[in-house]
Subunit: 273 residues, 2 copies
């Protein structure tokens, strides 16, 4: 297995650079990448320090590093460009065609995403996180009708992290409500949820996987037996089908995949922060 | 203000494309962008549907849209390239120089980031989210020594969303613990935190901003008065200085900025999922 160092360099948080860079590098299976994010490179002095660090790493590796960056200020990008590395700057590469298309010059102001630039937007996002935390696992039915979406499903099928991702990344007020054995025996939705049926979205999971997860939480409990997990999943799916609630199998999906699928299918606004 | 539609197209979640695209477009202040993410374009058929949608939007706008994409499969990228749009595909643009540098061909397998590709990694991340939720606001001191970092600060200064972001995005076990008036009068750290001093990181906030936030929660309370906010912030900062706890002003920083600054300064591992 070959080894290479990749640096993700940014004048702000580095989140965009590392996400794009990591995604590109996963296309090369035969190389083991040492991925290093260097955020807040926002002065000429820090740019020179960064060049030294890149060059030292290249000398230690015996092969030049790869640098993927998002640097809005041309002067900083030019300094980084002097490093002995394969240098790919997203701004340099994308801004020119965009300038030509729009007939405008880019402001080259340091990264504006991931900032509290629009206070109203940011406040909305934080309020959504608070709402989601206080409406986790059916903990509060107050203001449940303010939810943009309410995830339902058996205990430990992935509702909580999916809701948190929806709130943090997209400012969605995402409540979640467990489906429990009492709901199955009454053959119906919990009464709080009935008037909100159109906002419900279900998650389900393979019983074997559910058993693993529950067993880590409560080893040896009846709650964690395969038999019980099979029963709960079967009943919950039957209930969701009967009530016309769309649902998704969470077993092998990441929270990003679950969240973006729900956004798309429930036609929720995908705000970008 | 000119208006343009920008599409962020991806064969997976679209998160990378929309984050990069949004960040690039914020460089053009004079244009109002209608930003639309189209995820899961993972077949030739869906690619043709996407082209129709882009072309319809262009006809409605009277100007061709901008398309920024992350499409691993060349056949799908080629179909999208037929749309009447400025088309910038991150894979097409970046993969060639990476292939030349590495002397390898990219696998062109559909996006591998944001997937449950590595089960151990994904499990670690979900465990960190669970840990963070159960160690919010000093709610549990059990296993507090398992935390990678423990955020401290006055109530409502931004500890909770920052911890959640650290856990969700980077798999960090981030606990948080409020500093309350009793700690100030005892002139010391809460006893649970004393043995963990090296893992503490502080947040502070301007008293005026704290007052606004608290007043939305508990309007007219003593807790929300400017006088009380000033006192708490002053005492908390004095305590953190006395105890040698590094701290950061959260007033005008986003959770991404807070999280990445803490990762960097506390030298925590920045895992990329």
């Amino acid at each position: 297995m070959r080894k290479r160092t990749a640096f993700f360099v940014s004048d702000r948080t580095g989140i965009t650079a590392e996400m794009l860079g990591h995604s590109l590098l996963t296309q090369f299976d035969d190389v083991q990448f040492n991925e290093v994010t260097l955020p807040f490179v926002d002065s000429i002095e820090k740019a020179h320090e960064t060049v030294s660090r890149i060059n030292q790493q290249g000398a230690a590796d015996g092969v030049r590093p790869i640098v993927i960056s998002t640097l809005a200020r041309t002067e900083i990008a030019q300094v980084i460009g002097q490093a002995n590395a394969l240098y790919l700057d997203c701004f340099e590469i994308f801004i020119s065609p965009l300038e030509r298309e729009l007939g405008l010059h880019a402001s080259h102001a340091i990264g504006r995403s991931h900032r509290v630039s629009d206070f109203v937007d940011y406040h909305h996002r934080m309020e959504s996180v608070n709402y989601t935390l206080s409406h986790d696992d059916g903990s509060s039915t107050r203001d449940l009708s303010d939810a943009d979406v309410i995830l339902v499903g058996v205990s430990r099928c992935g509702k909580t992290p999916t809701c948190l991702y929806l709130a943090m990344q997209y400012g969605i007020r995402a409540a979640n409500y467990p489906l429990i054995p009492e709901d199955f025996s009454s053959m119906g939705l919990p009464s709080h949820l009935r008037p909100l049926r159109t906002r419900l979205y279900g998650l389900t999971i393979l019983p074997h996987r559910l058993q693993q997860i529950r067993n880590e939480r409560r080893p040896g409990s009846k709650y964690a037996t395969l038999e019980n997990c099979e029963l709960e999943v079967r009943e919950a799916e039957a209930l969701m089908r009967r009530e016309g609630i769309p649902y998704l199998d969470a077993t092998s999906k990441s929270i990003e995949e679950l969240a973006t699928t729900i956004l798309q299918e429930a036609k929720l606004l995908r705000r970008i922060y």
